[in-house]
Amino acid sequence: MARVITITSGKGGVGKTTTTANLGTALAMRGARVAVIDADIGLRNLDVVMGLENRIVYDLVDVIEGRARLRQALIKDKRLPELFLLPAAQTRDKEAVTPEDMIALTNQMRSDFDYILVDSPAGIEGGFRNAIAGANEVLIVTTPEVSAVRDADRIVGLVEAAEKGPPRLIINRINSRLVNRGEMLSMEEVVEILAIEPVGVVPDDETIVISTNRGEVAVFDQNSQAGRAFINIARRVAGEDVPLMALTDQQGVLDRFFGLFGRKAR
């Protein structure tokens, strides 16, 4: 039976779709059967991030409204035979889907997969409610900025109120040089403020831009630090005990020097 995991955020543009694509791929690379669902109805994106936009025939709303069977709508990944995408409808609005629809859909899929990842739209409205409806677990993505963390705090409250259990946190776009200079909130500070368990930190990394341009995901790129961070997140999600500080270990000597420097100064 699949674990249904929704990836959400309060503020938009913090990296939910990037996380869903990379985490889904990394889990499938480990041999799991994975489906990723784009629940951002009207703003379809996960397909282009995964480079599958040319293969779409049917979408989530077609399945919900009975025009297509699930099998027909699921798109197989280019590389991984056990990774599938259920795309969002681009021409419909989010009123086309209800939370009950999402619960029915994920229940229908559960027996065929090990993981079902749901890419949520930003915000606290209908689209968010739909995206978490079928979830057993929620991952909240934030960047280390005041506005994003504030909005993440709102989402923590809503997820808890929806009785989804304590959500876990992914901090995306950390710039370790800025953190070391004391000019960016650190992972520890964000975790302390939000008081939820972290599952990973992802560096701000140009390889994300490059791989997204090509419609490939960073986890396939051996040289991508962000890709490695997503692989570590997949390991933690799968239950492995991977220390969170793996990210800082990869910093250059200079960064580490300034890191010591900055800490002493405080």
Partner: protein, 87 residues
């Protein structure tokens, strides 16, 4: 170290500023105490305090919402006037 810090870096690091602003904004998001209500609270509090502690400086009472380790706090600072024979 702190000498250099003071020399070249008069301004507080922005991460520290961000953290303080976040902590404040989050408590205010959670505890819906509007600025007007806070003013009312201060006024009533100073009236009560003045009845019991004549040394209190009602005009200087400060009431703040703080994010604490395990619980959020409503903190009141009430300065007292020092009378002559204390010194």
């Amino acid at each position: 170290m702190s000498f250099f810090n003071n020399l070249f870096n008069k301004r507080e690091r922005s991460a520290q500023v961000a953290k303080e602003r976040l902590l404040t904004v989050l408590v205010h998001d959670r505890v819906k105490l509007t600025p007007e209500k806070l003013e009312e609270l201060k006024a009533e509090l100073s009236a009560v305090v003045a009845r019991y502690v004549p040394e209190a400086e009602p005009a200087e009472i400060e009431v703040t919402l703080l994010r604490g380790e395990s619980a959020d706090m409503l903190k009141a600072d009430i300065p007292l006037r020092r009378s002559r024979h204390d010194e």
